[in-house]
């Protein structure tokens, strides 16, 4: 099944890939290892998961503005996420997406951390401002 949601494109770009969803905020500084792309924050619901080449879905970031530089560094090392979908973006994640050239979309019609589940296949179009979610198995989430 497939669903299309409109949103606000903040950093332009079009990408396609698998979703990795967190209902908790993410701190890139200290929370993600830029060398490997692995989430290392203890007790985080995505601890141990790799964000690299995933469309990362989370409510917003938390912590220091240095997190923006971490996203930039991940882009240089090839460990960055393909794209980011937020419930509502904040300046820290937005600056990081600009510096790392990572498409960023927020303010969807439905909260993306509830509408999307890890493993969904997403088309993120931050240039025109929409997201397509494809799910192979039938689920009662919708």
């Amino acid at each position: 099944m497939e669903i299309k949601l409109r949103g606000r494109g903040l950093v332009r770009g079009i990408v396609e890939g698998e979703a990795l969803v967190s209902s908790q905020p993410i701190s890139f500084l200290g929370g993600v290892d830029p060398a490997t792309g692995i989430i290392k924050e203890r007790g985080h619901e995505l601890e141990g998961y790799t964000v690299t080449d995933k469309v990362l879905v989370f409510p917003h970031s938390k912590g220091s503005t240095v997190s923006s530089y971490v996203l930039f560094s991940m882009a240089r090392r090839g460990t960055k996420p393909l794209g980011i979908v937020n419930t509502v973006s904040d300046p820290i994640v937005a600056a990081g997406c600009v510096l790392g050239n990572i498409p960023l979309l927020d303010k969807l019609e439905i909260d993306p951390t509830k509408a999307i589940i890890t493993g969904d296949y997403l088309t993120l179009n931050a240039t025109e401002g929409f997201l397509v979610i494809r799910r192979s198995q039938i689920s009662n989430v919708w």
Binding site: T65, V66, Y69, S73, P91
Partner: protein, 398 residues
């Protein structure tokens, strides 16, 4: 967001790659906050200077930004570095750390930023004026300049402030707009605030309990001066996300407009004591660290007057800007402090220098901000004392 033709052109690369990135960053942040346009700023204060806080990722970005031709367009000052840029060997800063720190500051200088290395840019000669629009990072400085001077800045992040320095503009939202500067809670303080620690505790209490409110503070008989107001804002910015406060009959916007608040709460001495206790641990530190935010010339004078009474039995480290340092040197304050066994360090502070790597595990300080971050960032145990009490402790040895 509306962009002028000139701004559009910069976004497309008319002023080079670095300016295009900076413009894209400002436009994106403007979009988040539904800003209608960009406005000029008169200065920028960039945070994220210490290698300890920004690491290799920050160093990488700042160097690449400089390589791509980034150049500041307005008066731009920078936050403290991770070491005294001249006397880092004396501080026992590791060689590798020092090299990377020098690379960060020299890349920023190449862009045209002034190597002020202080969190108190409002104490420098180029002080902003009432109503000026600024793009300042460093939350304690944002508090001071918004509240006490009446200039207008949001609490910028390091990258956004750097982008504003390059473009000379900031998106028009938040504290730049008069309607977002009105107080949203009344704080009636029923205790006489005597010293900078009392003000620091009050700030921390307000930030922790009302993190996104703009307080209108009513004080009873209290000792209001630059040092105490500096401590109040720094404390509030540590535990809260607001960037502005008002004090009835004192701060400039209170003198221009009549403010009214619906919700009003009372703060008593016990509230302040609770904060003090929550930020203090049982220990008998060998080190007394003063200067968060950086010491002003008045504080340097006060410390030097205590220093002439006799040698310190404990290790006293005073942190200040290179600007205040050079005035204190001329006036003889430095010699007095050094002769008593104290040290005065420029360009850095206990929070952003690698204090834990040089064997400091327990500290007496007079700042809630320092206490909070020393524990959170460096796992250092802290005891809070006022400046007077801390220096007495240093002189008596207990």
């Amino acid at each position: 967001m509306y962009l002028s033709k000139d701004e559009e052109a910069i976004l497309e690369g008319s002023r080079g790659e670095a300016a295009a990135i900076a413009m894209k960053l400002l436009v994106t942040i403007g979009d988040i906050f539904d800003a209608q346009r960009l406005i000029p700023v008169t200065s920028a204060q960039v945070s994220g200077i210490s290698y300890k806080t920004i690491g290799d990722e920050g160093l990488e970005f700042i160097e690449e930004f400089a390589r791509k031709g980034a150049a500041v367009n307005v008066h731009t000052t920078i936050n403290p570095a991770g070491m005294d840029m001249e006397n880092w060997r004396e501080m026992r800063v590791p060689e590798d750390f020092a090299q990377k720190q020098e690379r960060i500051v020299s890349a920023l200088q190449k862009m045209g930023a002034k190597p002020t290395c202080t969190c108190t840019p409002y104490l420098l000669p180029e002080r902003p004026k009432f109503g000026d629009h600024l793009a300042w990072a460093e939350s304690s400085a944002v508090m001071y300049v918004n509240s006490i001077i009446g200039a207008r800045t949001n609490r910028e992040g390091g990258p956004a402030a750097l982008a504003s320095a390059v473009i000379g503009k900031t998106p028009l939202y938040g504290y730049h707009l008069e309607e977002n500067r009105t107080p949203t809670i009344g704080i009636h303080v029923k205790s006489n605030l005597e010293n900078e620690l009392d003000f620091s505790l009050l700030g921390y209490y307000i930030g922790k309990n009302f993190p996104d409110k703009i307080p209108l503070i009513e004080l009873e008989k209290s000792n209001l001066n630059e040092v105490n107001l500096k401590a109040l804002g720094a404390g509030m910015a540590t535990s809260g996300i607001q960037g502005l406060y008002h004090i009835k009959d004192v701060t400039p916007e209170c003198k221009q407009r009549v403010f009214d608040v619906c919700e009003r709460i009372i703060v008593e001495r016990s509230n302040l004591s609770d904060v003090k206790e929550s930020l203090s641990e049982q220990c008998s530190p060998e080190f007394i660290c003063i200067g968060c935010p950086h010491c002003s010339i008045d504080e340097m004078e006060y410390i030097s007057n205590i220093a002439v009474k006799g040698r310190f039995k404990k290790r006293v480290i005073i942190y200040t800007s290179r600007h205040v340092w050079s005035i204190a040197k001329k006036r003889g304050y430095l010699d007095r402090i050094i002769n008593a066994g104290g040290r005065v360090v420029r360009d850095t502070c206990m929070v952003v220098s690698p204090i834990e790597k040089v064997g400091i595990g327990e500290v007496v300080t007079n700042s809630t901000k320092a206490a909070y971050y020393l524990s959170a960032l460096s796992r250092v145990k802290t005891v809070l004392k006022s400046l007077g009490e801390a220096l007495e402790y240093a002189r008596n040895g207990n």
